[in-house]
């Protein structure tokens, strides 16, 4: 894992002290709210519906046990005993008091964490594949790239006041688990004809009010050109991005209005003109950063674990969990565990203090001290021995963390919605909870198979509803909550924006509508292995629209 050097540590502590002074001046009346608001936002502090909310960055989703324990301590000491994992690998505290926030930031700095650039029109927390460094399908670990970008973008003087916020995601695998095509810039590690690793650079993706799938601006970028090329894109955006209309200010609109060909020409021209060597990171510095992400020392183990096979035979529930919540590791005898933060009936992504502590303990004892936060609001144990799965599962189960639902219908992404968020137009969490309850039966959920429901409580789409197999968007209509359903979205390398099915549903009608949709899918699928998304692609909207709407009329 990356460790702060003296400069990093001093910088973060300095920022905390600066913010402490700003908070004190707000409290004693020296600063007005208009003056203070941009300062608190630069430090991740929002004012939400019922309280302040502090958004803490978890760069590329990677945490050590020590950091997880610090997050638990903060939740317990200064908040209400829980934290919320977000779709951009952040954790949010929903109830901090203003006066305590500098102390929280100090506690974060002690474990090399911060809330800098988790808000504002700057380059936000750089996200990455949550299986980074572990996945069997990986070309290279994307985290050194993400860390290099984090260092370059932190307080980059040219890019702190962009037309709008700017989000970058990196994947090292051809199987995109980082939603790179829905980011302002997405980087996909690829190899060229000579076998050299570099990046496919995608630009102008985004969800929100105007969803766009990102477009390839460069097929192959050598790794050494990473920062100069990003600098060129950001300069073009900074100069030409719209500042006249907040809703048209993201780079996706610039790409859309300019056209990818012209934009590419502008970027390449800027790239040629700028002083590349002064921007690029020296080879030795790249090597220094890469060294932090060297894989742990793995034991030499056989591919097959007889202890695991015996345990699976003895315990069907455990076997089901192994099947859904583990993924192929690049190292023989190891696996990647997805810890579901989606227990049936709980708010997606909420973790209690006790759960955070248990996860830290497990990671320390059985997981090479590493944890990841996924954009799907789950926790990953990236390096677990197959031989240890039984004991890890038991420890997770004791903490209510062993729900066997990764990628299934109850593994729902949901933004905080109107239960917390000041921007929301409708609730998300209770909609997710209702759907989870309806599909609580693990046998039924398993039979349905991969089924990605993503829920947003407003048009800003923090819940990624556009790219859900089923997307649910909560809006206000005539003074009540109303939910639009989209179908056929895809968040992977074959990114697609879902199609709107038709008129929205009232809050209590959403669950029954999803039930009808699932019933229709089960009766229409070609075989048990055809996912909902594949059936949808084969048959189109019509039969599912019928299920959503016609049956409703019949039932009424």
């Amino acid at each position: 894992m990356y460790r702060y050097d003296e400069f990093d540590a001093a910088y973060v502590k300095d920022r905390v002290n600066t913010f402490r002074g700003q908070v004190n001046r707000r409290i004693d009346g020296s600063l007005t709210e208009d003056e203070f608001k941009p300062l608190r936002l630069m430090n991740g502090l929002y004012l939400q519906l019922h309280a302040y909310m502090l958004r803490v960055a978890i760069p590329y989703g990677t945490l050590s046990s020590r950091q997880m324990r610090a997050l638990a301590m903060i939740a317990s000491k200064w908040d209400k005993g829980y934290g919320h994992l977000t779709t951009r690998q952040n954790i949010q505290y929903n109830w901090p008091a203003l006066k305590d926030v500098p102390d929280i930031l100090d506690a974060l700095a002690d474990v090399e964490m911060h809330a800098i650039q988790t808000s504002g029109n700057c380059i936000r927390n750089v996200t990455a594949d949550h299986f980074a460094g572990a996945a069997a399908d990986e070309i290279e670990d994307p985290r050194p790239t993400a860390e290099i970008i984090r260092q370059w973008s932190t307080e980059h003087p040219e890019f702190l006041y962009l037309p709008r916020k700017f989000k970058i995601a990196v994947t090292g695998s051809p199987n995109d688990r980082a939603v790179t095509k829905a980011h302002d810039i997405g980087l996909r590690m690829v190899r060229n004809d000579t076998g050299e690793a570099g990046y496919e650079v995608i630009v102008g993706g985004g969800l929100g009010r105007s969803p766009f799938v990102g477009k390839v601006v460069r097929d192959f970028l050598p790794k050494s050109d990473l920062l100069p090329y990003l600098e060129a894109i950001l300069r073009v955006y900074n100069l030409h991005g719209r500042r006249d209309n907040k809703y048209k200010a993201r780079i996706k609109i610039l790409v859309h209005e300019t056209g990818i060909e012209d934009l590419r020409a502008m970027v390449e021209r800027e790239f040629e003109q700028l002083d590349g060597p002064s921007v690029a990171l020296a080879e030795e510095e790249v090597a220094r950063i890469e060294a932090y992400f060297a894989p742990p020392v793995f034991a030499k183990l056989p591919q097959h674990s007889s202890a695991l096979e015996q345990a699976k035979k003895a315990d069907a529930e455990f076997a089901a969990w192994v099947e859904t919540n583990t993924d192929a590791h690049k190292q023989s005898g190891y696996t990647i565990v997805t810890v579901s933060a989606k227990a049936i009936g709980e708010a997606p992504g909420d973790l209690t203090t006790a759960q955070m502590d248990v996860l830290a303990d497990i990671a320390e004892q059985y997981g090479h001290d590493e944890l990841r936060i996924s954009h799907e609001q789950n926790v990953i144990l990236p390096h677990v021995r197959l031989d240890d799965l039984r004991i890890v599962h038991a420890a997770l189960a004791d903490a209510g963390l062993a729900t066997a639902n990764a990628n299934l219908i109850s593994d729902i992404i949901a933004c905080p919605g109107l239960d917390y968020c000041a921007l929301a137009t409708a609730r998300s969490i209770p909609v997710a909870q209702d759907i989870q309850q309806r599909f609580a039966d693990p046998v039924r959920a398993k039979a349905i198979g991969e089924f990605k429901i993503k829920i947003s409580g407003c048009i800003n789409a923090c819940g990624h509803h556009h790219v859900g197999h089923v997307g649910i968007l909560g809006l206000e209509k005539a003074g009540i909550e109303n939910y639009q359903i989209t179908l056929g979205g895809d968040h992977t390398e074959t990114t697609a924006i879902g199609d709107r099915a038709g008129p929205g549903f009232a809050f209590e009608q959403v669950g029954p509508a999803i039930e009808r949709l699932v019933d229709a899918y089960i009766s229409l699928r070609a075989n048990d292995n055809e996912r909902f998304l594949d059936t949808y692609r084969r048959l189109g909207l019509e039969p599912f629209k019928t299920a959503l709407y016609d049956n409703e009329r019949t039932a009424a």
């Binding site: 707000r26 009346g29 939400q48 203003l98 708010a347 239960d419």
Partner: protein, 114 residues
């Protein structure tokens, strides 16, 4: 046709705790909607808001919100957003205003920040 005026209250968030507060008839702040000052016409509403705006050392973002009145003349929210603001997260009834016994009327001075 003259537009029918809907009664209004001024709401904001407490600067220190960030929780929901309402302006009371003495132009101070209360955490209980039942104790909020009610404006029955445009002029009174504008006056209430004008009294709230300079109080930045106590509250953040004061604004006017519609209310309806029950038979006893007490205000209740007409919009679901405001309804949630009087309670707290609907998925966590152990948190927010709803977690406090509504019968227990805390002295404002003890409830922090105001």
């Amino acid at each position: 046709m003259s537009k029918l005026f809907k009664p209004k209250i001024v709401s904001a968030n407490d600067l220190f705790a960030g929780d929901v507060v309402y302006m009371n008839p003495g132009f101070g702040w209360t955490r209980k909607l039942a104790e909020a000052a009610i404006a029955h016409n445009e002029e009174a509403a504008a006056d209430l808001l004008a009294k709230a705006m300079p109080q930045q050392e106590k509250v953040v973002g004061p604004y006017l919100a519609d209310v309806a009145l029950d038979d006893d003349g007490r205000p209740f929210p007409t919009h679901f957003r405001e309804k949630f603001r009087t309670r707290g997260p609907s998925n966590r009834t152990d948190l927010g205003k709803q977690s406090v016994n509504p019968e227990r009327r805390e002295p404002l001075a003890a409830s922090g920040g105001i």
